[in-house]
Symmetry: C2
Subunit: 366 residues, 2 copies
């Protein structure tokens, strides 16, 4: 039996991913092809070409300065540490499902001695967005706040613009630094009908990622005022993130941004179109419905392993590939996957979706 990756590579119709899986050599050649022959790799983060890209992204987000770093895990811990040192309070208010809490082995605690504040007593809010009332209700003033836009663990949900403005205003009134976990901020312009810079203006610092929607190799930027970024560079060195060169990551990030950022709103519209077909299928739940960005959760009635085997059999037979993995959903009796709408989804024949799902949910014997 083929693995998910092998099957994905063979299916002509793919709902997921950017293009076909490529060998490392093909990836490197594609990056090289995007470069001017005069471009030199940065050395330890210095170099005119990297500085120009940092300035370009700072400009796009309307922030004064930016620094390229190898990972968001590093960038966000650094932002937290700086804001907590500036505010003199080693505490952070963030959603209990934040990447920092669930995917980084609590580096912010182990490396930076920062603690997360609990919302409410008992805290019970894993399935919903943070609101202004949550922050106002905190028993102590946090050293910093992190907000993720859109919130991946909630299927890419976004707070209403007025709610977001309210949180930003309250944080500024109380002199609490507000950091944006913008791993997927690129997706948000369509929902808010506002520019990236208008969204970023509500925050004191911003992290953006280049390898998810934008399809780069790895790496991110941290943005803020110049003193904040200068201090971040010292912490980048402490973290071991001041690499001899980040050249390949920088080049792939820039290429990805130029190629894919203009596509983002069309991906959001496609996500809503695809989701409406899923949503019309008996035994399927879309979260949120409609999607607010080009990411949503798909819940399918049934056992994850059984559905996965059936998906693979159908994909092998039809050449239509929807997802690589399913896990038990929070709703009993359902299995869950995330749908990210990227390049491949634009070429996907959506008329195939309803029949495929009908077969997946109620297979007929051939």
């Amino acid at each position: 039996m083929l693995t998910s990756t092998e099957l994905f590579a063979r299916c002509p119709q793919r709902l997921a991913g950017h293009g076909s899986p490529r060998s490392l050599s093909a990836t490197l050649r594609a990056i090289a092809d995007s470069l001017d022959d005069s471009e030199m790799a940065d050395i330890y983060g210095t170099g005119a070409d990297l500085r120009a890209f940092e300035a370009e992204v700072a400009d796009l987000l309307g922030m004064p300065d930016a620094v390229f770093m190898p990972s968001g895990t590093m960038a966000q811990q650094i932002a937290l540490r700086l804001w907590c040192e500036h505010s003199g309070r080693p505490t952070v208010a963030m959603h209990p499902t934040s990447h920092l809490e669930t995917a980084e082995h609590q580096g912010y605690q182990f490396l930076h001695n920062i603690r997360r504040l609990q919302f409410g007593a008992p805290e019970f809010m894993a399935g919903r967005l943070l609101t202004l009332a949550d922050f106002v209700g905190l028993p102590v003033k946090p050293g910093a706040i992190i907000l993720e836009l859109p919130m991946r663990p909630l299927g890419g949900q976004l707070p209403a613009w007025e709610e977001l403005v309210g949180i930003s205003k309250w944080a500024r009134e109380h002199q609490i630094p507000l950091h944006l976990d913008g791993a997927r901020i690129w997706q948000c312009e369509h929902f808010y009908q506002r520019s990236l810079a208008q969204i970023a203006a509500l925050f004191d610092s911003v992290y953006v990622s280049f390898y998810k929607d934008l399809g780069g190799l790895a790496g991110c930027m941290l943005l803020g005022n110049s003193a904040f970024i200068a201090e971040s560079r010292v912490w980048q060195r402490r973290h071991g993130g001041n690499l001899y060169t980040q050249g390949p990551y920088v080049a792939a990030a820039r290429q990805g941004m130029r190629q894919r950022l203009p596509e983002m709103s069309s991906w959001v519209l496609r996500a809503q179109e695809v989701a409406s077909i899923f949503s019309a299928t008996e035994g399927v739940i879309v979260n949120p419905d409609p999607p607010q960005v080009n990411l949503f959760q798909l819940l399918i009635k049934g056992d994850a392993d059984t559905l996965m085997r059936r998906h693979h059999a159908l994909a092998t037979q039809s050449g239509i590939f929807l997802f690589s993995a399913l896990s038990p959903a929070v709703i009993p009796g359902y299995a869950m996957t995330e749908i990210h709408i990227w390049e491949n989804a634009m070429a996907f024949d959506v008329s195939q979706l309803a029949p495929f799902m009908a077969q997946l949910l109620a297979p007929t014997n051939a």
Copy 2:
């Protein structure tokens, strides 16, 4: 006037460096050319090709396990943290000129709350190697020891084999974990006339680098027993070093190792040959003399700025390029540079060296 980099690029005779400066696109294409078309980039550190390379390097060093990381700054802090947690003592014994103390903004203190123990009172030893007597004389038992082989800040000096064995034996008797800062360990086989594995066997953990002598892009490995490496991977994630992929670094590291490691002993011999010519020049000091590895310090009588200008004028005229920078040496009236003997030095016409130095030290008017 040309910059050092531009001048270096134009000179046909170069004592320093690996080849000519290359654009980023040329670098990426060269890495791609070294790859089999089937090779896939690792995803978050997992993948058969990366595991095979980690196993290959572990085998070469005779260590049970290894993990590829983006930087030595990260790898060595992680090693320290683990050993200090295991030993229950958050202190380290390392040379006051260690990379961790002079080039990482004291990340080991700021991120890991580890402190360096002072040798002697007052501590006054910047110019010499650590000895067994230094460790025995420590007033308290350290949580871990770091030894750098060869010691770059001392011109690549190495302790005698018996001294090294004595330190290792003493550390084991006292159950103090001994970590090897092996950024340039590749250089040491010739001096010790022992294999890398025989040297590494004296240590509990080892860090090796791929972008200095081996000419990779960035990245390193941390080696140790399997439990230690498994725990290191958790800390790598905390540090923000578990990148979406390290593929380009891994590929460049492997290519560099295969291509350049076999050259290492010939580079050491060349360093000794070149150093003997420098050493015979009035007003020049070589440290150590003779060099023990393919790295040494060159001290030249005179003012750093004046000598640098004169070097550039001579290089422009003769096409012979020796060094990019000079700084005031610890010996008053001398300027200092490091000489790293790599690929270019093998093609360098050493008969040009004495006349060039004579001109540099006592220029005659043309």
